[in-house]
């Protein structure tokens, strides 16, 4: 569906993306990376907002700037999202329908569908300025999915959402994922674990990993140890303390270790796999 070929992007002297190559099909992808890793830049390049210095983004094997259907098929939620605060949610959705070229006859049903998906159908008549930050974020998701796009790029969609809203978001993604390519950029690994079939890990502008969640988890296989604080120093070789927790008055360290240890290894999570990649414990 979308192919990213040898994509490089710089801002001044700073090279943010280095020869990124990706092939994305009709699946849900999680784009993981630390702050400043280049997630937003990559997603903006894919949305056609940035012109890369090198390489190209293809949609159905056609450069996106030449593709006639790309903009029609694209749903995009930026990291920072807002709407005209003076309009009601419904009026704003109508505005977006008009911009997206959705036929007037379909507008009402499309808006209702999108608002229902994000649980905002009862807020349709409210002015944007009366909505909470989380609601505006959900309205952003509704805006992105309006018109049934084939490609949905969501840049940190769950930022600012409370746990129930996040759960709702996961359901929404599940409902949408049929025959669509959805790319969710985030640094919240649980969100990826819950919604995505595949994960792309990016660090310092380079793709470190592109595969299934299981494959990413397997990177940390036999490398995760949950041990007592006192035993922590006995870990040999390269290691990284992932988490410090307290259980029944004792302090435990969740450690990623490159070498096999004398302790029993834990079942790895997606976060373990991601951290192994990022910290070079592979």
């Amino acid at each position: 569906m979308i192919t990213v070929n040898n994509l490089s992007k710089s801002f001044g002297r700073k090279e943010v993306l280095h020869s990124v190559n990706l092939r994305l099909d009709a699946k849900v992808y999680g784009l993981l990376g630390a702050n400043g890793a280049g997630k937003t830049t990559l997603i903006r390049c894919m949305a056609g907002l940035y012109e890369p210095q090198q390489g190209e983004v293809l949609y159905h094997n056609e450069p996106i700037h030449k593709s006639k259907s790309f903009h029609q098929d694209l749903g995009y939620l930026p990291q920072a999202f807002g709407m005209f605060r003076e309009l009601t949610l419904y009026e704003m959705m109508e505005y977006i329908c008009s911009l997206k070229g959705i036929p007037r006859s379909k507008c009402t049903s499309e808006i209702t569908k999108a608002l229902t998906s994000v649980n905002l159908e009862d807020k349709a008549g409210d002015r944007i300025k009366t909505l909470s930050g989380g609601m505006v974020r959900r309205a952003g998701i509704a805006q992105a999915i309006l018109g049934d796009p084939k490609v949905i790029l969501l840049d940190e969609p769950t930022a600012g959402l409370d746990p129930s809203e996040r759960a709702r978001f996961k359901n929404t993604v599940s409902e949408l994922k049929q025959d669509r390519m959805i790319l969710i950029s985030t640094h919240i690994v649980e969100d990826v674990d819950a919604c995505c079939n595949s994960v792309i890990v990016i660090d310092e502008g380079r793709v470190l990993f592109n595969g299934s969640c299981e494959e990413l988890r397997n990177i940390a296989l036999n490398k995760v140890y949950n041990i007592n604080e006192a035993d922590s120093d006995r870990i040999t070789g390269e290691k990284f303390i992932l988490k410090v927790s307290e259980m029944e008055g004792k302090i435990y360290h969740r450690i990623l270790a490159k070498e096999k240890q004398a302790y029993e290894s834990e079942k790895p999570t997606l976060e373990d796999g991601y951290m192994c990649l990022v910290k070079g414990i592979v």
């Binding site: 903006r44 709407m83 605060r85 309009l87 505005y95």
Partner: protein, 704 residues
């Protein structure tokens, strides 16, 4: 698109910081119309009312900059641009909807102004189509396009400067100040510091380019009815520029890649084109405080030049015939063929105002070398040829010729005149009336978008005839009565009856002065009323009588016109004030309520005062700037005191002498005659000597 437009309008209406001031502005506009209408009812001066109407225009523009910026910036304030850009032409459509919405917002006040102007036109009942067209153009340029400029600038600043409000509003304030006369003082500073007007000229050049309201706020000069409000082609080009240039800036934000580059190139092209067309704007009527403005340009130009006395300069030849091919577009482009009566001279001198750039001088045999020195052209021998063709173009700051109006009086050297003549007389502070004593044959063809009125017979801008000067006038100008040409919009239209009355008064007067040979017959000549502003920087142009026509700045009644004509006949020499007093007594217009009329003049005191005046004048006769600078403080004080004393005494002497000689004296009729001869002669005699001589004679006569 309709939905987008409606939504943009809803955003505007629901934004209290935008809609509330807007509706207040509309209400204030209505109240202001009431004020303007009341002003008309009081003074019956349509252009004065229109000036009041135009005055707040810049505030409207600034307000629309605010509205458009604040409406557009909401997109950026609410982080909408990023996702709008991902829709097909999303940002472009959003901008388009906002601009259409803003056009709707400005349409309402624009229509209000248009309707009010139409109402005023109907109310004054002038029924003059060119004036109606002028008013329509005024509505479009001042209350239409300038408002559009406001919204385009506001929107462009939102697109380019985003949320940098401080920068946006600073630029807006600068823009507003540049559209007012606020600049008069700061723009004069470079001159005060460096004694050069070059920087001032450059600053005004920049200001003119940014001027979207040509008759700016604070401008106290009145609008000339023949010309109307400045609406030369360059004003429309600038209005177009200030709409198109911001538009391309906005569009560069909406598109990527090749389209963006193409738009940036277009934007640069528009700047180059705008600046290029602006720099060849040609003749425009500048009426403000700059040194190049028409009231000041020539007085400044001639002030620093050594004055040469060319009165009586013998050209050695006459021009028998002129064949003129004039094109009046942005300025005057002329090809003038002259036939001279004496082709055997070694050297020929012509006068052509320095604002006209001479391209070539040629005879049938080819081009001739010439030298140009200010207003003067020198040519060597013509090798027997008697026809010369001058090709030139250019402008004068005062005597304009462009697509809006033409005011070229026959006494001004806008075409080559034989010999060297002064253009400006600093002593009289006025233009020298250069009319030849001989008539020439003129064949004139003018290419202009205007209907030109000329003293010669003809039609369709082609004229032929004999005269001693060619006057051309056009614009909001018409034949208001038979052979009387004037601005139909002016309240004080000339009438033939007034001209006849003036002639009768002057005939009686010349008989009274026993100078029947001086009698002028002008009652049946063509009469051209020239703009009243002609006399704004000149004391010599109230009335000019030429061989076949008269030009006058006004003709309200016969006695006034007669007095002005008499004034134009007299040569004041160094005694302008005394000449005016003479005219008052000659026309029996002296103010008898003046305290001077309470007692009769003591001739002995008068003679003492004349002596004192002559003594002081002789004492400082060789004073110049260098000597003044070399004086010590005490000497300067003494000199300044003497100057003040001279001024006071001069006024007293003029008043007393005129009252005695032309009012009290038993020989007052003879005195009037003596001074008529004095003022019409070429004599260099000092008038005070003549006054003294007559007074002494009368005293002696009394004693005997």
């Amino acid at each position: 698109m309709k939905k987008l437009y409606q939504a943009s309008l809803l955003v505007f209406l629901r934004s209290k910081n935008l809609s509330m001031p807007y509706f207040v502005l509309l209400a204030l506009t209505l109240a202001y119309f009431g004020f303007c209408f009341n002003n008309y009812l009081q003074y019956r001066e349509i252009f004065s009312t229109l000036i009041w109407l135009v005055r707040p225009c810049i505030f409207f523009i600034v307000f629309f900059i605010y509205l458009s910026y604040e409406l557009t910036i909401k997109m950026y304030d609410h982080n909408m641009v990023e996702y709008l850009t991902t829709y097909k032409h999303g940002l472009w459509k959003t901008y388009a909807a906002i601009i259409v919405c803003l056009l709707t917002i400005i349409a309402l006040p624009s229509i209000m102004f248009f309707v009010f102007i139409l109402f005023i036109y109907c109310y004054i009942d002038v029924q003059y189509l060119p004036f109606l067209i002028h008013l329509m153009k005024l509505s479009v340029l001042y209350f239409g396009l300038s408002f559009v400029t406001g919204i385009m600038l506001g929107t462009a600043m939102a697109a380019k400067l985003k949320t940098k409000r401080l920068v946006v509003y600073s630029l807006t304030v600068i823009f507003m100040l540049l559209n007012t006369t606020f600049t008069d003082v700061p723009f004069r500073v470079p001159y005060l510091l460096f004694n050069s007007y070059r920087t001032e000229r450059m600053l005004y050049y920049f200001k003119d380019f940014l001027t979207v309201v040509p008759h700016e706020l604070g401008n106290n000069f009145s609008v000339v009815p023949i010309y109307g409000f400045p609406m030369e082609p360059v004003r429309w080009i600038l209005a177009g520029f200030w709409i198109l240039f911001p538009l391309t800036l906005i569009l560069t934000e909406c598109f990527n890649r090749k389209t963006k580059k193409a738009l940036m190139a277009t934007s640069c092209l528009i700047v180059l084109l705008g600046a290029g067309l602006f720099s060849v704007r040609g003749s425009v009527l500048l009426m403000d405080m700059r040194v190049d403005s028409y009231p000041f340009a020539d007085p400044f130009y001639y002030q620093d030049r050594p004055r040469e006395d060319y009165s009586g300069y013998e050209a050695g030849f006459m021009i028998e015939e002129y064949k003129m091919d004039l094109t009046i577009s942005n300025e005057l482009h002329a090809e003038v063929e002259v036939t001279i009566d004496n082709p055997d001279l070694d050297r020929y001198e012509f006068t052509l105002y320095h604002g006209y750039i001479l391209k070539s001088v040629r005879t049938e045999d080819g081009e001739l070398p010439f030298t140009r020195q200010g207003d003067y052209i020198s040519i060597g021998s013509l090798n027997g040829a008697d026809r010369l063709t001058f090709k030139y173009y250019g402008k004068s700051p005062k005597y304009y010729a462009n697509r809006q109006a033409i005011a070229l009086p026959g006494y001004f050297a806008y075409y080559p005149k034989p010999g060297r003549m002064n253009i400006w007389d600093p002593e009289r502070y006025g233009y020298v009336i250069n009319t030849s004593p001989n008539e020439s044959i003129y064949t004139v063809h003018i290419r202009s978008n205007l209907e030109v009125f000329c003293n010669l017979a003809g039609s369709d801008n082609s004229f032929h005839g004999k005269s001693n000067g060619l006057s051309l006038l056009a614009g909001m100008y018409d034949e208001v009565a038979e052979n009387i040409y004037a601005e139909p919009v002016r309240e004080d239209l000339p009438q033939r009856a007034y001209i006849r009355e003036a002639e009768e008064i002057l005939i009686d007067l010349f008989h009274r002065l026993e100078r029947p040979e001086a009698i002028l017959h002008f009652a049946d000549k063509k009469f051209f009323q020239v703009p009243r502003s002609f006399t704004l920087n000149s004391n010599t142009e109230h009335v000019v009588v030429m061989s076949d026509h008269i030009t006058a700045d006004s003709c309200n009644n016969g006695p006034e016109l007669a007095k002005s004509i008499m004034e134009s006949i007299l040569k004041p020499k160094s005694s302008i004030r005394f000449m005016w007093e003479y005219l008052d007594y000659l026309f029996n217009r002296q103010d008898e309520t003046d305290p001077l009329f309470q007692n009769s003049v003591d001739l002995n005191i008068l003679l003492q005062e004349i002596d004192e005046l002559q003594f002081l004048a002789a004492k400082y006769s060789d004073m110049d700037r260098e000597k003044y600078l070399n004086m010590n403080e005490q000497e300067r004080k003494a000199y300044n005191a003497a100057q003040n004393r001279m001024l006071d005494t001069n006024v007293k002497v003029d008043d007393k002498a005129a009252k005695y000689l032309f009012y009290e004296s038993p020989r007052k009729e003879e005195n009037l005659r003596i001074f008529f001869d004095f003022f019409t002669s070429e004599s260099d005699e000092d008038y005070l000597e003549l006054v003294e001589k007559i007074v002494r004679e009368e005293l002696e006569h009394d004693h005997s």
